[in-house]
């Protein structure tokens, strides 16, 4: 059994990685696990959204989740 997760990356996280990819993970995978696998330092993550809602690093992902990772950004 694997879970299919759509991972979206933004801003500097895209460098040498990707914009958006469908990836497979074992059940029980957390946001932190995905970040580690992508070699994104957890301390650099500013915003985590799953289906457009804020989530934390320890959140356990579910089949079909759309996960978006942003560094800390701002504007106005």
């Amino acid at each position: 059994m694997v879970m299919r997760i759509t991972v979206k990356l933004f801003a500097t996280f895209r460098e040498n990685r990707f914009k958006e990819a469908r990836r497979e993970y074992p059940p029980g995978t957390t946001v932190a696990d995905v970040a580690a696998e992508l070699e994104i330092e957890a301390g650099l993550i500013g915003m985590i959204f799953i289906h457009g809602r804020a989530a934390e690093l320890d959140r356990v992902l579910e089949e079909g989740d759309v996960l978006a990772l942003f560094p800390l950004l701002g504007g106005g």
């Binding site: 979206k8 933004f10 801003a11 500097t12 895209r14 914009k19 650099l44 500013g46 915003m47 959204f49 289906h51 457009g52 809602r53 804020a54 978006a68 942003f70 560094p71 800390l72 950004l73 701002g74 504007g75 106005g76």
Partner: protein, 577 residues
């Protein structure tokens, strides 16, 4: 002694006064709002002789403080009927600081509408003269004419044809260090300047000396702490300089708060085409500058120079709100076209938020099709630019176009177009839109920071809990920052890095020899908000207008399927301080 310059346009007289002692601790927004509240009858017609147009540099303007290049313009707004403060970068704030001019107050109105005037301010005094050469010209041509006649290095404050034609979407523009334009954007202040028959103002800082500091060692030390905080924080040190404010497009799309197709969805299919990431790649590929300042001494440099595909200058200061409004709200999926619109808007002198929000409603009204950027350009140049009857309706702004064409979905508060964050999915910013003294304005209390960006803590954007308090605290802090001449983007480090804001207070104290505390600065923010609020109440803009348009309560927005459902009574608690 600090000076106040009063130019009376009724009889073309000039008075140079000593600034009253009571104004010693006031600058920027605190001073423009104090003057407007004290001297402008709240019920006056904004385009009549009783309104006054006030320019004020900030308390730190002209010093070496990082990001202190902003100055304020204030008046009663013809768009909102409220008090208005709008601030911009450029070179004038710094020059006024060096000239020790606390405020320029333009009063009265010539009896005849035959003539236009220019006002020229220098160390030698103030000259008011009839102006003919630039009448009818737009902003870039005005800058050229001023440079040729008076020299390249002068500060310039000007209106384009939209301001001359007293349009409610008109702004006041000012020259930036590279000779391009920055704007006092919101509230139709260009029409106020046009109603005074002033085409442009020049500022000459020749013969001035650096701004004196009571304790220059302490100032330097505090400025080092301050600029270090700006550089250390990831938003001001990295995100803004690299991607500019347009980095918000993808964020707001992701959380469903990117108003699309005249506020009918919270997500836009072609978001990546109009994103900050795409803009950055495009700028770099075409030899533009992704990192650029709107004023001297800017450490953050959120601005940029955007070139066309042949590598020629297309626009600068290309902001998220403009890109959102044309890109998502009007569905124009081509960043080059949006950049061209931005440049034309700068030239005509129209607000780059009000104008595209108005176009979203015009598209819904059927005046043009959603996504038709070419037609937007034509309407800007041929109708608004030539003040045809249709151009005047469009130039009346979002609310007027909605009324004229019977559109019910009109995103305005107090007549001013709602910017780039949907209040249904970012509820904190909805509180700011509803309650600010300025009409819908995101900068008045940028709750997006804490609702979405995780700066200054976290408050769930989809819940009403805690939003009034959040917006109140931000609005108070913003009113204080707007009085210093510091750019509001210092708020990102200030919300997260403990030493940042105290360093700005230390700079104020070292500059003036005062003993202000953080509480005093917060107190100043509160005082400013209250006197602005009282002006509005006396102008007939009461609590019943502190609300969002009805359609936000009737129509749920995708993807979260949320409506605006904040209780009016809870909103009214905003003013409990």
């Amino acid at each position: 002694m600090p000076k106040v310059i009063r130019v009376n346009m009724t009889d073309l007289s000039v008075r140079i006064e000593e600034a009253p002692a009571a104004w010693a601790g006031l600058g920027g927004r605190a001073l423009t709002s104090t003057v407007v509240a004290a001297e402008v009858p709240p019920t006056c017609h904004p385009l009549g002789p009783n309104n006054k147009l006030v320019f004020a540099p900030g308390l730190l303007s002209g010093t070496a403080a990082g990001n202190a290049g902003r100055m304020s313009a204030g008046a009663k707004s013809p768009l909102t009927g409220t008090i208005k403060e709008s601030n911009a970068g450029g070179t004038c704030g710094r020059m006024l600081g060096r000239l020790d001019i606390k405020a320029i107050i333009i009063e009265g109105q010539p009896a005849s509408t035959d003539a236009w005037y220019n006002i020229r301010i220098s160390n030698e005094g103030v000259v008011v003269e009839p102006e003919t050469e630039t009448v009818g010209l737009n902003n870039f041509a005005v800058l050229e004419s001023v440079a040729r006649r008076y020299g390249e290095d002068k500060g310039v404050i000007t209106i384009g044809s939209a301001g001359e034609n007293l349009m409610l979407i008109s702004n006041i523009s000012t020259r930036d260090p590279e000779g391009k334009l920055r704007s006092f954007g919101r509230g139709g202040l260009g029409a106020v300047m046009g109603s005074k028959r002033v085409k442009f103002i020049t500022i000459d800082q020749d013969g001035t000396r650096p701004v004196p500091l009571v304790d220059s060692a302490a100032f330097k030390a505090a400025n080092m702490v301050f600029t270090k905080a700006l550089k250390d924080h990831p938003v001001s040190g990295q995100g803004l300089p690299t991607y500019g404010t347009a980095v918000l497009v993808n964020i707001l799309h992701e959380i469903g708060g990117l108003p699309t197709r005249n506020f009918t969805s919270g997500q836009c299919e072609h978001h990546d085409m109009i994103s900050g990431e795409h803009m950055y790649d495009t700028i770099v590929a075409r030899g533009g500058e992704p990192t650029h300042g709107c004023s001297l001494g800017c450490v953050i440099q959120c601005s940029q120079v955007y070139n066309d595909k042949d590598g020629k200058y297309l626009t600068s200061g290309f902001e998220y709100e403009t890109i959102w409004a044309f890109g998502a709200d009007c569905l124009i999926d081509n960043l080059d076209l949006i950049a061209e619109c931005d440049n034309v808007m700068d030239d005509l002198g129209v607000d780059s938020i009000e104008t595209p929000v108005m176009f979203g409603v015009a598209m819904e009204a059927g005046i043009l099709k959603f996504g038709d950027g070419k037609e937007v350009l034509r309407l800007l140049r041929e109708e608004i630019g030539k003040a045809t009857p249709l151009g005047r309706v469009l130039g009346g702004g979002t609310a007027l176009v909605g009324k004229t064409y019977g559109v019910a979905r009109v995103p305005v508060v107090k007549g001013q177009g709602i910017p780039a964050y949907d209040p249904r999915s970012v509820k904190g910013i909805g509180v700011t839109y509803a309650t600010t003294t300025q009409g819908a304005d995101h900068t008045a209390g940028y709750a997006v920071a804490t609702n979405v960006l995780n700066v200054g803590g976290k408050v769930d954007p989809l819940s009403n809990v805690g939003q009034v308090e959040l917006s109140r605290n931000l609005q108070i802090a913003t009113a204080a920052i707007d009085s210093t001449g510091l750019c509001l983007f210092i708020a990102f480090p200030a919300l997260d890095i403990a030493e940042c804001l105290p360093a700005t207070v230390d700079m104020l104290n070292a500059r003036f020899g005062t003993k202000l505390t953080m509480d005093d600065v917060v107190g100043l923010g509160k005082t400013v908000l209250k006197l602005e609020h009282e002006f509005n109440l006396a102008a007939g803009i009461g609590p019943e207008q502190d609300r969002l348009p009805e359609f936000f309560e009737l129509e749920a927005i995708a993807p979260h399927n949320v409506k605006w459902d904040m209780d009016q009574k809870e909103l009214a608690t905003f003013w409990n301080f």
